[in-house]
């Protein structure tokens, strides 16, 4: 069981690392947000599931395990709303990618409506 927990946590560390590298390397702020979602999903889920199993099987503390699981559910449910709000606010505020986008339907439709 300890091995399974270690594998889970190692996986999530790998995804968190990839996310950080992506955040540093991506060309503009929207792509950086995409990369940060990497950390927010698998980077966190691995640690949460690993911690859940650790509390359940090694520490034998069921109430701690339940709390960790609830934390994970809340995290998954609330996180995308923040991501969506940041992306929309950035675009409406006038942040534009440095690299040309292949297609920008949102900008076209916004201009039409103004």
């Amino acid at each position: 069981m300890r091995i399974a927990i270690d594998i889970l946590i190692a996986c999530s560390v790998f995804f968190a690392f990839a996310g950080v590298v992506g955040m540093l390397r991506m060309p503009d702020s929207f792509c950086r947000m995409q990369s940060s979602t990497n950390i927010a999903t698998f980077g966190v889920l691995g640690v949460i599931i690993g911690g859940f199993l650790y509390a359940l099987t090694v520490l034998h503390d069921t109430s701690m395990a339940v709390k960790i699981a609830v934390l994970g559910v809340f995290y998954i449910v609330t996180n995308p709303i923040a991501g969506h709000a940041i992306a929309k606010a950035a675009y409406r505020h006038g942040v534009r990618p440095e690299k040309d986008m292949t297609i920008d339907k949102y900008g076209e439709d916004l201009e039409q409506n103004d």
Binding site: F14, F15, A18, G19, V21, G22, R25, M26, P27, D28, F30, C31, M33, Q34, S35, T37, N38, A40, T41, F42, T62, S63, M64, V66, K67, V70, I76, V77, N79, P80, I81, G83, H84, A87, K88, Y91, P97, K99, M101, T102, I103, D104, K105, Y106, G107, D109
Partner: protein, 180 residues
């Protein structure tokens, strides 16, 4: 603003009470026979009081909608469908970030949403945002049809319907099964 109906009040209160039991750890204590009745009663009072004010924001239709077995099991199945989509997207974006050439091709596409229910729409939007590589930026109604504007890190299709198939994958089918 809609009025608070009793079923809406009851379902919100039950949901809040469930989370109270989970977070205070009482759910485990009940099974082990050492629950403290003070905590249980305090939780019931607080959840009743809170849901008096919040029920009308959450429930607009049938309050015990999700408890129909077909919908409930679709929801459970959706967890695994979503985890599979999440895995694929995570691996894709992680290797994109670590690739020395950094193969990104960003753009914002417009994608039709074929879900009618409000909760289904927001659930699909949140699922899309949560998969790495796509972020929902806005939802707009246009001639009676609902559209998402989605920032996509690797634009393969610019046609709305085809891009929709590529982004939403199997998720939309399952969400329709849950909410519509």
């Amino acid at each position: 603003m809609k009025k608070t109906t009793f079923p809406a009040f009851l379902s919100t209160a039950l949901l809040i009470y469930c989370f109270w039991l989970l977070i205070t750890g009482q759910i485990v204590a009940i099974f082990q026979g050492r629950a403290s009745w003070e905590v249980l009663v305090a939780g019931a009072l607080v959840s009743g009081f809170v849901s008096l004010f919040t029920a009308r924001f959450f429930i607009h239709r049938n309050a015990f909608y999700l408890l129909a077995p077909k919908r409930f099991f679709s929801l459970l199945a959706y967890v695994f469908v979503f985890l599979w989509e999440l895995t694929k997207a995570n691996v894709d974006v992680a290797f994109r970030a670590l690739n020395p050439k950094l193969p990104v091709n960003p753009g914002i596409v417009k994608v039709p949403a074929d879900v009618k229910a409000e909760y289904g729409l927001s659930m699909l939007a949140n699922s899309i945002t949560l998969t790495p590589g796509t972020i929902t930026m806005d939802i707009a109604d246009e001639n009676g049809k609902t559209n998402y504007y989605i920032h996509w890190i690797n634009v393969k299709e610019t046609d709305p319907a085809k891009a929709g198939d590529a982004i939403k994958g199997t998720m939309e089918k399952w969400i329709r099964r849950i909410w519509d």
